[in-house]
């Protein structure tokens, strides 16, 4: 009959002995001086709320646009703002030009981290 090894051991949670298992520093024990750009992919989903209200209005009015002018103009304005913002970001943030503020692009963060690297 096989007995599980955990049962035979007196204390499974006993720490390892440092002299028997020497510590190896496989990765440097400090934060890197750069961040990855993966999470910064431009999120293009915008104006969902406006789109929903527009659809609701259109459905009740059988898709005649003249009765939903307000909703439609709201939706278009929202999209225009979104496009303009993305265009501006392309010119400044995405090139890593730093500016005061807290929402920083990964390129801007990298620029800061290059100037002020981890102290040790």
């Amino acid at each position: 009959m096989r007995v599980p090894t955990a049962v035979l051991q007196r204390n499974a949670r006993r720490p390892q002995k440092e002299d028997q298992v020497p510590f190896q520093e496989l990765l440097p024990l400090r934060l890197r001086n750069h961040v990855s750009g993966k999470s910064n992919r431009m999120n293009d989903v915008s104006c969902l709320q406006e789109m929903a209200t527009m659809f609701a209005c259109m459905k009740t009015n059988e898709f005649s646009e003249s009765l939903c002018n307000k909703e439609i103009s709201n939706f278009q304005k929202c999209y225009k703002v979104h496009i303009d913002r993305a265009f501006e970001a392309k010119k400044t943030d995405n090139q890593g030009i730093v500016k005061p503020g807290k929402d920083l692009n990964y390129k801007q963060l990298n620029k800061y981290l290059r100037n002020y690297p981890s102290p040790f």
């Binding site: 992919r41 431009m42 999120n43 293009d44 989903v45 104006c47 969902l48 789109m51 929903a52 527009m54 659809f55 259109m58 459905k59 898709f63 646009e65 439609i72 939706f75 278009q76 999209y79 496009i83 090139q95």
Partner: protein, 223 residues
């Protein structure tokens, strides 16, 4: 739309990623030939900056003639096949003539002054109205998620919606019997669309309905 100021790339550092294909050097800016745009330049004081910047030559479809209209010239270019602009312009002029005839007939058969005042007889205005009425607000883009392709409604820019409206009108005019000529059919389609009915407006509404049906996928778009 960009103002001329944003095109002044003189003091701006540039990082070039693609090769420059234009004949003009990079510091050249597009010509500003319309009278109202030039006035706007002068009132904003931007003409002083432009004085030191070389300008590209005006293109050969630019003019300040009163008969010139940006929408008409764009529409002509979309009608055009294989660079035959003479034919394209001829076809559009013919269909404008048809529109004028139809509208004048309506105008003359109208009984009262009020009815007459309602009838638009300017073909240029009718073209503008037709395009305005057939502009879609959204379009469906196929986006693949987990092996399944979803049709996702996506908002579109004004330029894109203008293009789609013009394309639809021309496509509708091209679907015709052999005995009917293109200008005739185009005139009918334009008149229909200008009064917010007909095939092009139907097509736009169908697209909107489809978008509405697929609205659940709207958050899928990312790109």
């Amino acid at each position: 739309m960009l103002g001329p100021a944003s095109k002044l790339a003189l003091f701006r550092p540039t990082i070039c990623l693609v090769s420059h294909m234009s004949v003009y050097p990079k510091n050249y800016i597009d010509p500003i030939f319309k009278k109202d745009q030039q006035e706007a330049l002068k009132t904003s004081g931007e003409h002083l900056k432009i004085a030191h910047i070389p300008i590209k030559a005006a293109r050969n479809n630019d003019t300040v003639s009163v008969f010139h209209d940006d929408v008409i010239s764009k529409f002509t270019n979309y009608i055009m096949r294989k660079g035959d602009k003479l034919l394209a312009r001829d076809l559009l002029d013919k269909s404008f003539e048809q529109i004028k005839r139809v509208q004048l007939e309506k105008y003359n058969t109208a009984k009262t002054e009020e009815e007459k005042a309602k009838i638009q007889t300017n073909p240029k205005e009718i073209l503008h109205q037709a395009i305005e009425n057939s502009r879609p607000l959204l379009q469906l883009t196929p986006i693949k998620r987990g092996g399944v392709t979803y049709q996702v409604p996506v908002p579109i820019t004004i330029n894109r919606s203008n293009f789609m409206a013009m394309k639809w009108i021309i496509e509708a005019a091209n679907e015709k019997e052999r005995t009917i000529h293109f200008p005739q059919k185009l005139a009918w389609e334009l008149l229909d669309a200008a009064s917010n009915q007909g095939r092009v407006v139907k097509r736009k509404q169908d697209l909107h309905k489809q978008c509405e049906a697929n609205r659940a996928y709207a958050h899928y778009r990312w790109s």
